[in-house]
């Protein structure tokens, strides 16, 4: 520091900046520390423990047989057909829910971007599915809509005079779970895309209309490029939440009929089978997968973020 002051003689007449600066630095950091320390303790340390347990032989029903297991748990996870199918289920469930609700959400957002009587009310009606507590929503789908004897779907079929009374959940379990989740997540996508549509600048569209562009051309060359980052954001945030879905799988099928996803599988391995080591190994694998998604997610969010800073 002394060298620097000598190199810049014009600062000689000021009070020495060093001690003040140090105090300031801690004064600006201090408000951040409680939140940071709390989060590190509650979210990072448990994961380190998960990592350690994943290399251990540990079944809580067999306490004498505990010890180091090497990579056995990981080998078990990758060779267990149930766990492998839960990986596939997670991917199928997440991808189909996110893609279908993005497409439906885009359609609804485009509709709601037009002016019509009662637009605010329709928007409110559309948000409702997202605001029903997830377990409650799953219960309603299971008992009130899908039930083969007195569910609404078969009731409507009966009303319309169809003879068929399908058992929705057992004949198409994965579709049943996906449909209920699409119903919950479409409003979320619609809200994000609608915010995107309404932040679109008006002038280019007006100019294009004057130049004689068709409404398809306007959508293709003006609206869609503007919406792209909102579509990415919706897709990535949707993936983060739907990948972790537990409520719908647990409630609608209880993980049966080939619908168990990774969160449900880990829950079961640890909570019902008491296989702590194996559950932890599966957890570590989920995190590894999430890091891949998260890398893309952070990149998307940070591109939005740069735009905001500009």
């Amino acid at each position: 520091m002394a060298v620097m002051t000598q190199a810049r003689p014009d600062t000689d007449d000021r009070p020495p900046p060093v001690p003040r600066k140090k105090v300031n630095r801690w004064a600006t950091r201090a408000p951040l520390l409680p939140a940071l320390i709390f989060l590190i303790i509650v979210t990072q340390l448990p994961f380190v423990a998960t990592l350690v347990i994943s290399f251990m032989k540990w079944n809580s029903l067999d306490p004498t047989n505990r010890g180091f297991a090497g990579i056995d748990n990981y080998v078990n996870v990758f060779t267990d057909p149930d766990l492998r199918s839960s990986v596939v289920n997670t991917i199928v469930l997440t991808a189909s829910v996110v893609l279908i609700s993005l497409v439906l959400g885009l359609g609804l957002a485009l509709l709601l971007d037009k002016k019509f009587a009662g637009r605010g009310l329709v928007r409110t009606l559309l948000i409702a599915p997202f605001l029903v507590v997830p377990v409650a929503a799953a219960l309603i789908w299971k008992h009130v809509l899908y039930n083969p004897e007195y569910g609404l779907f078969n009731g409507i079929l009966n009303w319309l005079g169809f003879e068929a009374q399908p058992d929705w959940i057992s004949s198409m379990p994965m579709t049943a779970v996906v449909l209920s989740l699409v119903w919950q997540w479409t409003p979320f996508m619609m809200l994000i895309l609608l915010a995107g549509l309404q932040s679109k600048p008006v002038e280019p569209v007006e100019a294009a209309t004057i130049d004689g562009a068709s409404s398809f051309q306007i959508f293709r060359y003006l609206t869609f490029p503007h919406l792209r980052q909102y579509l990415e954001l919706g897709g990535l945030l949707g993936s983060i939440y739907v990948v972790q879905n537990f409520d719908a799988v647990f409630t609608i099928t209880s993980g049966g009929l080939g619908t168990a996803n990774l969160p449900y599988m880990i829950y079961q391995t640890f909570y019902q089978a008491h296989e702590y080591g194996e559950a932890s190994a599966a957890g570590v694998i989920v995190v590894a997968g999430s890091i891949i998604i998260a890398t893309f997610a952070l990149r998307t969010v940070s591109s939005l973020f740069k735009e905001e800073k500009r």
């Binding site: 637009r119 599915p129 605001l131």
Partner: protein
């Protein structure tokens, strides 16, 4: 110009979609107001007499303790989140620390870690420290679950305070506390309220932690609802009444804060 009916038909289509999406919610309300025998008919009985029996049964069956547990965990964690997030957001926006973007992204990255990966150690800690089935322990977990989102949100709300006003106030000789109270607080207040609502909704909805870590005493409303998962026979009105009552706080909060809800769920990236 286009004929008028084209514009009308978009409106009709939008109304149709809105009603289709709302139908399960409407049906849930209606069924909750029917008697059990009217609720379980096929074809469905729209015009059956209304009754509050389902609600009566739901509350008689011991719904109050889980509802109160949910309220105390959700409100408690929301208060702690705000106490931790507001100073942190201040340090990330108004007087930014160096490398503040890195810190901000660290907060976000904790949110991307699936909770199942930390579930077992947290369960073991709760077990060894005698905190299983304890609502305070759950409150702390909900705090950590919501803190990253709250920091992001609060940062984006605090960044909306114009730099010029802050500079002008400090040139006029206003101290830090005066600036916070007179300049920052009035602008940030709606943002704080929205953040609080979103944290409340997430805590209220949470099932996995509550299911694993609570039991008889500290069970929350979603855990109580899982009691209906396998229920067979004529319980439709009661199930619907339960779903309505448990969803009501979120429905009210969500309708009240529709725009802020989007901003919150997209971590402040969408305005």
């Amino acid at each position: 110009m286009r004929p008028k009916w084209v514009g009308h038909s978009w409106g009709v289509l939008a109304w149709f979609c809105g009603l289709v999406f709302f139908a399960p919610v409407a049906w849930m309300f209606l069924t909750s107001l029917h008697s059990e025998s009217d609720a379980a008919t096929n074809p469905p009985s729209l015009l059956a007499p209304l009754t509050l029996e389902g609600y009566g049964e739901f509350f008689d069956a011991g719904a109050w303790p889980p509802l109160l547990n949910s309220f105390s965990a959700s409100i408690g964690s929301t208060i702690i989140v705000l106490l931790l997030a507001i100073p942190a957001a201040y340090a990330l926006s108004i007087r930014p620390v160096e490398k503040w973007t890195d810190v901000l992204f660290f907060f976000l990255s904790t949110k991307m870690m699936p909770v199942v990966a930390a579930l077992l150690p947290i369960y073991l800690i709760a077990q060894f420290s005698g905190m299983l089935d304890n609502i305070s322990f759950l409150t702390l977990l909900y705090t950590s679950m919501n803190l990253p989102i709250a920091v992001w949100l609060m940062r984006s709300f605090l960044s909306e305070v114009p730099k010029e006003i802050l500079e002008a106030a400090s040139i006029d000789g206003a101290g830090l506390l005066v600036i916070l109270r007179r300049v920052v607080a009035p602008i940030a207040m709606p943002g704080i309220a929205a953040t609080a609502l979103i944290c409340f909704i997430f805590s209220w909805n949470e099932l996995l932690f509550a299911r694993v870590l609570t039991g008889v005493v500290a069970g929350t409303a979603p855990v109580y609802l899982t009691g209906f998962v396998t229920s067979q026979g004529l319980f439709l009105a009661k199930v619907c009444a339960a779903a309505v009552v448990v969803s009501l706080p979120v429905l009210i909060a969500g309708f009240a804060a529709q725009d802020k809800l989007v901003q919150g769920l997209s971590l402040g990236a969408v305005k």
